[in-house]
């Protein structure tokens, strides 16, 4: 924390402050002069107002909501910790949390797939790298709602292409997305398919940062491609892998779109696929139980904030701003 002179009086007394050594990071080498100050506040004001109204105040509100109950006419009554007690006691919460963590674990399967593709794309003299990268990345930019609809159609128990293809191998018909025992895995597969391209970008960047001489030296020593991958690529890629793993868990905590689209309200597999955010949506906007929903949101907020903080600290280790 920097110490700014607290009043103009202190300056008037003529106390000389030590020049700050952080010059170069700030615009000026001198202390804040009034013109820059005013300009800086003017620059920050628009977004600060937006943040206060739409983010910071809502954060405080969410915390407040979580201790109240919402009456039918919007009258709130103080509940104390009841909402939190309900969140902790409610079996659906634990189930949703378990599902969400399972999505996170399934999501981690994407990493080895993406690393393999990135390593293959890194072969010297390989043609069509750009085309491959584009094709692998398209699912990530595609509207998630559309992705969910297409996969639901592929999974369809009566007319789905997946059943048709599996029938060639003698596998019998199955309602992949509505059988509670398989639905979560069906959604998980879509999640993996969707995010391969995203992690691919991260790993391509990571592999590019590995000096080529290492590979050349290893090649001279007679190491084959597989050995080079395990002895050079993988260890040197570890910061990227760690970052990707953190992102993967954070993103899975936010999973909502796919579940909302792929699970209609009448789907028997709804309970076994529900994520924390979809449960939050159900409580807040379908069952009008805002108090408990806010408590749930707050718990998830703390969890995500902790993880994001970890990621933010790690980012310094792996992002190279050109």
């Amino acid at each position: 924390m920097a110490v700014f002179p607290s009043t103009a009086a202190a300056e008037a007394e003529g106390r000389i402050r030590k020049p700050r050594t952080k010059a170069g990071r700030d615009g000026t080498a001198r202390g804040p002069n009034s013109r820059t100050q005013k300009a800086a506040y003017a620059f920050i004001a628009p977004i600060a107002v937006g943040f206060l109204v739409f983010y910071i105040w809502p954060m405080i509100q969410t915390f407040g909501y979580s201790f109240t109950s919402f009456g039918p006419f919007g009258g709130n009554s103080w509940l104390g910790g009841d909402n939190y007690a309900r969140v902790v006691r409610d079996v659906t919460v634990w189930r949703a949390l378990g599902n969400t963590l399972l999505y996170g674990v399934i999501g981690l399967v994407t990493l080895p797939v993406s690393i393999t593709v990135a390593a293959l794309l890194n072969r010297r003299g390989l043609r069509g790298v750009g085309v491959y990268r584009a094709l692998y990345f398209i699912p990530f930019v595609t509207l998630p709602v559309a992705v969910g609809l297409v996969w639901n159609w592929l999974y369809n128990g009566n007319f789905g292409l997946l059943n048709e293809m599996l029938s060639w191998f003698g596998v019998s018909r199955h309602f992949w997305a509505s059988d509670p025992s398989s639905a979560l895995w069906a959604i998980g597969l879509v999640l993996v398919w969707q995010s391969i391209g995203y992690y691919l970008i991260i790993f391509i960047a990571g592999i590019k940062a590995i000096p080529q001489d290492y590979y050349e030296a290893a090649e001279l020593d007679g190491a084959g491609p597989v050995r080079r991958f395990f002895r050079i690529t993988l260890p040197l890629l570890s910061p990227s892998i760690f970052f990707a793993a953190v992102i993967c868990v954070i993103n899975s905590l936010q999973l909502f779109d796919l579940i909302y689209v792929m699970m209609s309200p009448t789907n028997p597999a709804l309970g076994s696929t529900q994520s924390v955010v979809s449960l939050f949506y159900q409580w807040a906007f379908q069952q009008n139980n805002q108090g408990a929903a806010a408590a749930l949101a707050f718990v998830l907020m703390l969890l995500t904030a902790a993880l994001t903080y970890v990621q933010f600290r790690l980012q310094k280790k792996w992002v190279h701003y050109a």
């Binding site: 804040p32 699912p139 930019v141 709602v145 992102i247 993103n251 209609s264 805002q290 994001t308």
Partner: protein
């Protein structure tokens, strides 16, 4: 030892593997298109036929007549443009101040901005909904883009780029008598164009694909963006697969096209971003 030749042993196997993977990645889209071009009886025919007998565009037309699909696309466009433009303006201003100016309370403000970054926006929906309601904006287009115009992520991203610029430029401009805004607008901002482009495409993608927020604030079909619109299409046409595939195909095309044209910026933005929101 293999010499440096264009075709190396193993490159055939590499291509085979990569192509197989690519097929898995694009096949669902192919199936989406093929289904959209079929008639309903063809689509649900058992055993499955791969190709439609005749190319049939009727489903694409039906999407537009069955629901206010055109309006929804329009809402998505307005939402995407407004959020992107808003973020570029607001984030670049604040990022510049944080990166290159000194002012009182900088650290406190910085910490506040950081707290916004750390909280996933989907969890603030309840109070945000209340605010929109109090402003009387439920079921309006501004409701879609208001909170999303302000982004802590965008601010931090641009700040990093501003911090990397040399100070001499500013000094010289200041000596020439240029004011803070002038320096920002005509000297510094053009220098971080790549970062602005990256932020723009990533924001556009998030805005176009956003579902949870629009579902909550705009329940009137005519005011929905296409993401929420498709979910209501799903309810309406539960078993009319060609229409659903046509609808979802049109809705996802804009982002795919944008990506194909601006790949470099997408890659930049993705490589520097982490989470959604």
């Amino acid at each position: 030892m293999p010499e440096r030749s264009r075709v190396r042993p193993g490159s055939v196997a590499t291509h085979a593997l990569l192509s197989l993977g690519a097929l898995v990645m694009v096949f669902p889209f192919l199936w989406q298109l093929l289904t959209a071009l079929k008639t309903l009886p063809e689509a649900v025919h058992v055993p499955t036929t791969f190709f439609p007998e005749h190319i049939n565009w009727a489903s694409f037309k039906e999407v537009f007549t069955a629901m206010p699909y055109g309006e929804m696309l329009g809402n998505s466009v307005v939402n995407t443009v407004a959020r992107t433009a808003g973020q570029l303006v607001f984030c670049s201003l604040a990022a510049y101040a944080f990166a290159r100016m000194r002012f009182r309370g900088k650290n406190v403000l910085f910490a506040l901005f950081l707290s916004v970054l750390l909280v996933p926006s989907s969890l603030l929906i309840l109070p945000q909904y209340d605010i929109i309601q109090r402003l009387g904006l439920l079921n309006t287009t501004p409701a879609l883009f208001l909170p999303g115009m302000f982004s802590a992520f965008g601010t931090f991203l641009l700040r990093q780029f501003f911090m990397a610029l040399p100070r001499e430029l500013e000094e010289a401009a200041r000596i020439d008598g240029a004011g803070p805004f002038r320096i920002f607008w005509s000297i510094m901002l053009p220098l971080i164009r790549p970062a602005l482009a990256a932020l723009a495409v990533i924001t556009a993608m998030w805005s176009w694909n956003d579902l949870l927020w629009p579902l909550v604030v705009n329940t009137d079909p005519a005011k929905m963006p296409i993401s929420a619109g498709l979910t209501s299409l799903e309810g309406q046409f539960e078993t009319n697969y060609p229409v659903m595939m046509a609808g979802s195909l049109i809705a996802s095309l804009p982002m795919i096209v944008l990506y194909l044209f601006l790949q470099r910026h997408f890659v930049q933005g993705i490589a520097q971003s982490g989470t959604k929101g």
